[in-house]
Symmetry: C2
Subunit: 267 residues, 2 copies
């Protein structure tokens, strides 16, 4: 069901009626592949259309260029239906792109400055955690700032709870305990987050953003970039709230991520 | 900037980063055209990219087939940018479809049965009122029922306020006063709704769904179908909450809509 062009009546374009994945591929080998496929399949199930066949998907990373690249997969519900009403027998469309990629290595070492976004995520448990195609909130949030020294923006939900960054998940250590926001009402449950949860004791919590200012360490991460230690957190006007010095605590969790993604260990 | 096919890197597909309009066209003449263009322009402004030129848009309805049809316009931010970060100089893409259309005339006369949906709309003031491409909530809500006797589903927001139907706006009369939900936190501000607000005294209110059960009359409507009087409202399990008999009150507001859309007056 793979396609090279998109008909204008595709429901992915019309309504964002679909899901996507961006997979790190190194010399034809995908990283965290099972986690990506599991989320893709869960997304299709939750939206109510069949996921692509596993063997069709498994053949894709091998077609990537040599070295590092990103395999972007989009699966839409396809065409048809009457308006928002989905077709009874959907014929999903799989769209594949291979994109060049290099991680921001300096950010592993030096850390990043981040800020709070003004936009608040709407609460929608029906699609929370999924990487669906309705990403206008992320676009608007990411475009709240243009300063290239600010690497990411943090997002709260409409009840004020801290959730994620525009394209990364959040992790922090507080009183020696690792925490990450629960994502059952909004946000995207990243595959690196899932892999870290599987091998480390990390509590999924409900927290207000002030919790971050009590943290010994704060990280942002996703399955393409690994983990970035945060050295400075600004409010949504760009004024510093708190700074951190990178230490051993940061490196321990970072090196878990480096290993999961096949990146070199940090000293 | 009109296009016939869509590149896979278009941000409309990737993120729902765009807006759309569905315009009723009769023999080349668009109905409520200024209201559609105003909403389209407002949407592009709110998302932060230039709207298509007015003269390019004005040329489109004349290319519609004879009789009734729907002109569907999609404007996306185009390609480019880095992930969610928008390109500094976006080149928006205008996508045009002419679709056959006939209104559900029997519903004008006989009215419709509707139900409450279980899904609740997320609150997002930044895009409230716009007809943007992030419509997964509408798709999921519309697919909560398959009974063809149920014409529409009503949606509340995550705070429980009544907002709209899956593809229509809501109007009711209570104590002789016309009301419609405020749409400053979520929902789509329809062009028929706007036209009715401009010529009738209709209060935009915050209301819980129980308010509907106190109404003398309830209508659903949009710029393609006109207004449907509601004869029965069900809960989200399909059990009747209240029924109405269609009367003169219904016909008065309906006939305003019929006139605005060039449909015949109802007796």
């Amino acid at each position: 069901m793979s396609e090279a062009v998109l008909p204008l009546n595709d429901r992915g374009l019309a309504y964002g009626d679909g899901v996507f994945e961006t997979v790190l591929v190194r010399d034809g080998t995908p990283l965290l592949w099972d986690a990506h496929l599991a989320r893709l399949t869960r997304g299709c199930e939750r939206l109510g259309f069949p996921a692509p066949q596993r063997d069709e998907l498994d053949a894709l990373p091998g077609r990537a260029p040599a070295g590092l690249s990103v395999l972007k997969l989009i699966v839409t519900r396809g065409s048809g239906g009457r308006g928002y009403l989905a077709p009874a027998d959907p014929e999903p469309r799989l769209l594949v792109q291979h994109l060049p990629f290099a991680p921001a290595e300096a950010r592993w070492r030096e850390g990043v400055r981040v800020r709070h976004c003004a936009l608040r995520l709407g609460i929608q448990p029906r699609v929370a955690g999924l990487k669906h195609l309705n990403r206008l909130e992320n676009v608007l949030a990411r475009n709240e700032w243009s300063d290239p020294d600010v690497a990411e923006g943090l997002l709260c939900d409409s009840d004020g709870r801290i959730i994620e960054a525009t394209c990364m998940n959040l992790f922090w250590q507080r009183n020696g305990r690792l925490e990450t926001p629960r994502l059952d009402r909004c946000g995207v449950a990243g595959t690196l987050r899932q892999a870290l949860l599987a091998e480390r004791s990390i509590a999924e919590v409900e927290a207000m953003p002030e919790r971050l200012e009590q943290a010994e360490a704060l990280w942002l991460g996703n399955s393409l970039q690994g983990l970035w230690p945060v050295t400075r957190l600004d409010d949504s006007n760009g004024h510093a709230l708190i700074t951190w010095t990178i230490g051993e605590t940061h490196r321990r969790l970072q090196n878990d991520a480096q290993r999961l993604l096949g990146y070199p260990s940090l000293p």
